[in-house]
Amino acid sequence: MNYRKWSIRTIFLILGIISLIYAIKSEQWEFVREILTKFIEYENGGLPQLFLT
């Protein structure tokens, strides 16, 4: 058993789980739903405004 690998794995998994708990606590899924259900003008590379000016 590679203890070094398992300790790195465990530390990062703990970090990931802590992040997940904070994400649930701060209801970050609502941010995802909001982004996915609305029009995002800044992902269009300036379309159509840049083309119309």
Partner: protein, 302 residues
């Protein structure tokens, strides 16, 4: 080799066929809005454009940038990237990512050129640098947002998602989608002069997209290997993934065979890992090596 000669081609590539089917189904589900599916709150470690109205899931990298530039700490994106890479590594790159499917289609048609393993592994570092450069930009924007400074003039339309300027999925499914949706293309010969008035950033992104897709013809998944910032971040963690691909030294024929090295779309030199798990940050667990191995020396294990 002898063992596989009697086996039909479909049987030989059964995992690849399964993977391609999953990729196609995932592609349909990711853009499921076009088929009446509602947007979800699912975040996956893939590149999914949030700017396309039909997208049903969110890419972890996009979420990270959108949250950071809105001055929100991206706990959710970090959790998905860390837990995902430590458990199944970069499997989502091979099995789910929509750009992965496009890259695979082009590379199936193409003439594969071998890239030396030193070039391959040093070029992988480029994706990590790209990821951290964009994260630095995102943090700077977050800081400016927090102190109330306007940064719109510096980044223009890209102030919420700076990496989208070079991100092919966003360019293809978001920028080009809206380009056709709004009918901005020339409709006749007399309108061709319109093209000259297009903003340079449009042409730049279009060239990036064309390169990102077409170069797969010679170097399969070159974008995923060397540029993708999410791939870079996931690659760091995937070195320690729990689900491993292992090469059995008793069954492997080594240099005499080398079939696995020939088919690996990420250019991993699998023969370097005989008797070990494939811990390369480039490995996406696509399992093509497992498919072609004549002695079944490659195995998946925990």
């Amino acid at each position: 080799m002898v063992k596989k000669e009697s086996v039909s081609k479909i049987n030989m590539y059964r995992i690849t066929l399964l993977r391609t089917s999953i990729q196609i189904i995932s592609f349909i589900l990711i853009f499921g809005g076009a088929f009446g599916l509602a947007a979800t709150f699912i975040v996956l470690p893939i590149m999914a454009p949030a700017g396309n109205p039909y997208t049903t899931v969110m890419g972890a990298w996009q979420l990270m940038e959108l949250m950071l530039t809105a001055a929100i700490f991206p706990f959710l994106a970090i959790a998905i990237i860390v837990i995902g890479s430590l458990t199944i590594g970069r499997s989502f790159c091979a099995w789910v990512c929509p750009f992965g499917l496009i890259s695979d289609i082009v590379s199936y048609l193409g003439k594969k050129k071998r890239v030396s393993k030193t070039t391959n592994s040093s070029m992988f570092k480029l994706s990590i640098y790209i990821a951290f450069i964009f994260l630095f930009i995102d943090f700077s924007i977050a800081y400016n947002q927090a102190i109330g400074t306007s940064i719109y003039s510096y980044f223009g339309e890209f102030y919420r998602e700076p990496s989208s300027i070079i991100e092919p999925t966003t360019i293809l499914f978001s920028m080009l989608f809206w380009y056709f949706y709004w009918g901005l293309y020339p409709t006749g010969l007399e309108e061709l002069s319109k093209l000259l008035n297009y903003p340079p950033v449009f042409w730049f992104r279009l060239i990036v997209l064309i390169l990102a897709i077409s170069l797969n013809y010679y170097i399969p998944r070159w974008w995923c290997r060397w540029i993708c910032p999410l791939g870079g971040l996931m690659g760091i963690g995937s070195k320690y993934k729990i689900l491993k691909v292992y090469v059995d030294p008793k069954q492997c024929l080594g240099e005499k065979c080398g079939e696995c090295v020939k088919v690996c779309p990420m250019g991993v030199n699998i023969l370097d890992f005989i008797g070990k798990e494939i811990s390369s940050p480039l490995c996406t667990s696509c399992l093509m090596c497992l498919d072609v191995c004549p002695t079944n020396a490659i195995k998946v294990r925990i």
